[in-house]
């Protein structure tokens, strides 16, 4: 059996294979340990009942949905009803709510986002709390 344009096809296949597999060999040897998020900020330490607005598992998976719905509630409907957890009031705000406790963006937000290779555009506008350079 003869393959027409065999050389060209073979070359094409090699290029395709190389491109297709690029994520594998480009990331080879890079250790990607599961990120450990720090929730020991002074603000959280001060809390009597160290609870977020929702349980940890929920927050980990759905915090972006919460932020989305808060945004629509506050910006679009003017609904700034606060959330009370064990007597502590939380504002429906990334900048003036979440980040008041999680004042360690680098060890909290960024760590996981970098691990997951997502780049949320929150910080294009919202101002992260001041942190010591590490």
């Amino acid at each position: 059996m003869k393959i027409y344009n065999g050389g060209k096809i073979l070359l094409g296949l090699i290029i395709f294979g190389a491109l297709f597999a690029s994520p594998f060999y480009l990331n080879m040897g890079k250790v990607s340990a599961k990120p450990e998020l720090k929730i020991d900020t002074p603000e959280i330490q001060k809390l009597e009942d160290k609870k977020c607005v929702e349980p940890k598992e929920f927050m980990r998976a759905e915090h972006m949905q919460i932020l989305n719905s808060w945004r629509d509630a506050v910006v679009r409907n003017g609904d700034r009803e606060q959330i009370i957890i064990s007597g502590h009031k939380y504002e429906k705000s990334l900048q003036n709510g979440c980040m008041k406790c999680h004042s360690n963006k680098k060890d909290f937000c960024d760590k996981c986002h970098n691990y997951m290779a997502v780049k949320p555009y929150c910080w294009d506008c919202h101002i992260a709390p001041k942190e010591k350079k590490s």
Binding site: E54, F58, A61, R76, E81, I83, N96, I127, P129
Partner: protein, 274 residues
């Protein structure tokens, strides 16, 4: 655990109701997820049907006093200052009489009246042209009359800038954080904007929610009177009933809600306005 947005919103909505009525219901609905959630209604907020401002420029006697007003706004809202007209972003600023109210000046008017400064800002119109044209509802009218801008949704088409007859809107031609003033100071309580979105005065919706009046009003020493135009007993309504006031381009039917008290000669003398 996975949950789509609709499901989440449903539960969030139910939990809000449940939060007011007690947590038992929510706990039963989703065990372990919402048991501790409670909601505190915002009781501080200033909420009215139609906010408006009456501006008496005769009470702002010096250039400094005017500047204090505009800077108070721009500082707390992280408005970038690029010091050029091309990339300029402004929420509140001054124009001379002849440019604030084109067509109202006449040749026999005192020269200095023509050049009197007037504070200009978004008119939060009753029939805003900007809201009518926006293709994504990124700009919309709230029930309290505020014409809001949702920077998260704005696609930067600038149709609203073409439509606004008051030149109240600015576009972020550059990344606002590159502005020198924002590199020196940013209000940590308020966001900046991102590149490519339109922004404007929001009547300090974030301050109203805390029971505070807009920053410009607070800094104005009584020159700016803020109030509910739907309340006949409000101070602003009394002013509008007793003094001669004008609005910008009322003939266009947008029903602007910023009123200017005219008459009297007690104005600031400002040599040149850019």
């Amino acid at each position: 655990m996975s949950m789509n947005r609709r499901e989440f919103l449903k539960i969030a909505g139910i939990s809000t109701i449940a939060g007011i009525g007690g947590t038992a219901l929510a706990g039963g609905l989703r065990k372990g997820v919402l048991e501790a959630a409670q909601a505190a209604p915002n009781t501080d907020a200033l909420t009215e049907k139609r906010w408006g401002i009456a501006i008496d420029m005769s009470k702002l006697k010096s250039e400094e006093s005017i500047k204090r007003v505009t800077e108070a706004c721009h500082r707390i809202h992280n408005v970038p200052d690029f010091s050029n007209t091309k990339d300029e972003v402004k929420w509140i600023w001054t124009e001379t009489f002849e440019h604030s109210f084109p067509g109202q000046e006449h040749k026999f008017m005192a020269e200095d009246m023509k050049h009197k400064p007037f504070l200009l800002l978004c008119n939060h119109c009753d029939n805003p042209a900007c809201v009518r044209v926006c293709p994504t509802k990124a700009t919309f009218k709230r029930s309290d009359g505020i014409v809001m801008q949702d920077m998260h949704r704005c696609i930067g088409c600038r149709f609203c800038m073409a439509a606004c007859p008051f030149g109240a809107r600015s576009f972020n031609y550059k990344n606002p954080r590159l502005a020198k003033n924002l590199q020196e100071y940013m209000n940590p309580e308020f966001p900046t904007r991102t590149i490519g979105v339109v922004e404007k005065c929001t009547f300090c919706y974030e301050r109203l929610a805390k029971g505070l009046k807009p920053a410009c009003v607070e800094e104005s020493n009584g020159a700016l009177v803020f109030g509910d135009l739907d309340d006949p007993a409000s101070e602003i309504r009394k002013i509008l009933a007793s003094k001669h006031t004008i609005r910008r381009k009322p003939e266009l039917g947008t029903e602007p809600n910023i009123y200017y008290i005219t008459g009297g000669n007690d104005y600031a003398v400002v040599p040149e306005i850019r």
